[in-house]
């Protein structure tokens, strides 16, 4: 639901079971949504590639959650200065705990340090944090990520400058 300051541009709904059946849905959806959002941008190509990159990372995280929720809804909003993308789905308690833990730190500098340390683990052939993609999009793309739990629905919000 958009607030009075946020204008809803587009809402896309997926049946989670079908979305989770094919990995390519992440790539296709990210690219499609990115092109739609970027069509009026000053540099549509560059913005589309950037948006596709960040949306794809979040969709891949969602894909890996293997939630049995009925649907995934993606809402794209415009607040004037920012593009807001809400990923709305219901989650198991286990996944909610994971996100609560991830979002317990909201210091951008600290998150960059965590990302660097996770990359070191990759370099050392150790298993990285399952949300390393989220650390990356915060560290590299100045994306603000937040998580909100509402009755029956969880919202992962991605906010970035228009």
């Amino acid at each position: 639901m958009a607030t009075s300051e946020e204008k809803l541009l587009l809402s896309v709904s997926y049946e989670m079971e079908k979305f989770s059946n094919d990995w390519r849905h992440c790539d296709y959806s990210a690219s499609y949504l990115a092109q739609l959002i970027s069509s009026r941008a000053t540099d549509p190509t560059k913005q589309s590639i950037m948006l596709s990159t960040v949306i794809n990372e979040l969709l891949e995280v969602i894909y890996h959650l293997k939630e049995k929720t009925r649907s995934l809804m993606i809402e794209i909003k415009d607040s004037g200065s920012d593009i807001i993308i809400d990923f709305c789905l219901s989650m198991s308690e286990k996944n909610q705990l994971l996100f609560n833990s991830f979002f317990s730190c909201n210091d951008a500098e600290q998150l960059k340090k965590v990302y660097l340390s996770e990359l070191k683990r990759v370099v050392n052939n150790e298993e990285a944090h399952r949300f390393i993609g989220l650390y990356e999009i915060i560290a590299d793309y100045d994306v603000q990520l937040s998580y909100q739990k509402k009755p029956e629905i969880n919202i992962l919000r991605m906010k970035l400058a228009a």
Binding site: T42, K46, I49, T53
Partner: protein, 386 residues
């Protein structure tokens, strides 16, 4: 969309293209195999070229990063140069992280060394040159565009669009169903977008920052009419640009080019001084890797690109075909640019620059005088993609 990875032994370069968003490591076997082979064969410097890879996810990035680490460890005498493009925003960000972990890695931004004369052409001093040129060319070019097949309602791509004046004029006079411009000069694009906004046309005229030799964001067979004006002449590898123009053109569509024979720009009176001036100017462009005598070569280039129905026409801009005042403004803009930016880039001394300025001023006087005559030869060529 999927990815391709290829190793070129001559260049010692592994090139990644397409979209690399695998779900599992197994999907990256080809990458691992190619990198291993490249590391085995390369000596001294191994290039990893990402400037044509549109998308990569973290699974792929981590595999590439690990493999780079393996190469660095296994081959202590090998250094790695990673080539990225500013057109692809993730590449600089991701690759900078790799540098943090490994020595003997450098990063080259491909667009900073895109073609030899880049620094001289892609600065805002060149904008007045572009604006005034389009103005005096348009009256003749509009007719030639129609004769070379541009019709109302076509989809048009102008590659190396400069400041967008041509696109605006085509939009006005030919009402294309779609029209885009691509350029690699940020000053040009900023200017073009500002003009489009001032004229209320930002929705209609779309400008993209891009590399004419790598138009990855344009699909194959996309446009009815693909133009590239006064531009192949500035690249040291025009055949690469032409390959992309061909790819994005629809079968049955047209590729339309204009290029000059700049040294044959003439004026009377003082025709000898004027001729020498333009010969010198052409040599200076040549020194920077640009060929402003490219006009007559278009025939063979279009044949090599397998185009049919090739047509070449002269477009002679003269003091008869355009207003003397406008022509004078063009030559003044050439003088200011060539005797300063270009001459400095050619390391010419003050005396040389002064003489060259006098040569341009002679041309300006020939234009101003009602008894004088001046001409600027441009060649127009087109071919049909079969």
């Amino acid at each position: 969309m999927t990815y391709q990875v290829m190793y070129n032994q001559n260049d010692q370069m592994v090139t990644f293209t397409g979209c690399m968003r695998p779900q599992t490591q197994e999907e990256l076997l080809e990458v691992n195999k190619t990198l291993a082979m490249a590391a085995e064969k390369a000596m001294g410097m191994l290039y990893l070229n990402f400037n044509r890879l549109e998308f990569i996810n973290n699974m792929a990035f981590h595999e590439v990063m690990k493999h780079i680490g393996l190469i660095i460890d296994a081959k202590p005498k090998l250094t790695i140069k990673i080539i990225i493009s500013s057109v692809i925003p993730w590449s600089e960000k991701k690759m900078t992280w790799i540098k943090q972990f490994y020595d003997r890695i450098s990063i080259e931004q491909y667009d900073n060394n895109f073609y030899p004369g880049q620094e001289v052409i892609e600065n805002d001093h060149f904008i007045p040159v572009l604006r005034t040129q389009t103005k005096i060319i348009w009256a003749q070019e509009k007719k030639l565009l129609a004769e070379h097949g541009l019709k109302k309602g076509m989809s048009v791509a102008d590659i190396c669009c400069g400041v967008g004046d041509f696109i605006s004029l085509v939009y006005q006079d030919f009402n294309p169903s779609q029209i885009i411009g691509v350029d690699h000069s940020k000053p040009n694009l900023n200017y073009a977008r500002r003009i489009a906004e001032d004229n209320g046309l930002s929705d209609k005229l779309k400008y993209h920052y891009g590399d004419a030799g790598n138009l990855f964001f344009i699909r194959d067979n996309e446009f009815d009419f693909v133009t590239c004006r006064l531009s192949l002449q500035i690249f040291d590898k025009p055949e690469l640009i032409l390959k992309e123009l061909h790819r994005i053109c629809k079968p049955g569509g047209k590729i339309y080019l204009t290029n000059e024979t700049y040294s044959k720009t003439l004026g009377y009176p003082q025709s000898e001084i004027i001729s020498r001036t333009y010969e010198e100017a052409s040599k200076m462009f040549k020194f920077l890797g640009m060929d402003l005598e490219f006009g007559p070569k278009m025939n063979s280039y279009l044949q090599d690109a397998h185009l049919k129905n090739i047509r070449i026409d002269p477009m002679m801009i003269t003091t008869d075909s355009t207003s003397r005042e406008d022509f004078k403004v063009v030559v003044e803009s050439w003088r200011d640019y060539i005797c300063n930016d270009l001459a400095i880039a050619n390391k010419k001394d003050e005396t040389y620059r002064k003489e060259l300025t006098q040569g341009f001023n002679s041309h300006i006087r020939a234009i101003e005088s009602k008894r004088g005559f001046a001409s600027w030869p441009i060649w127009v060529a087109s071919g049909t993609k079969s």
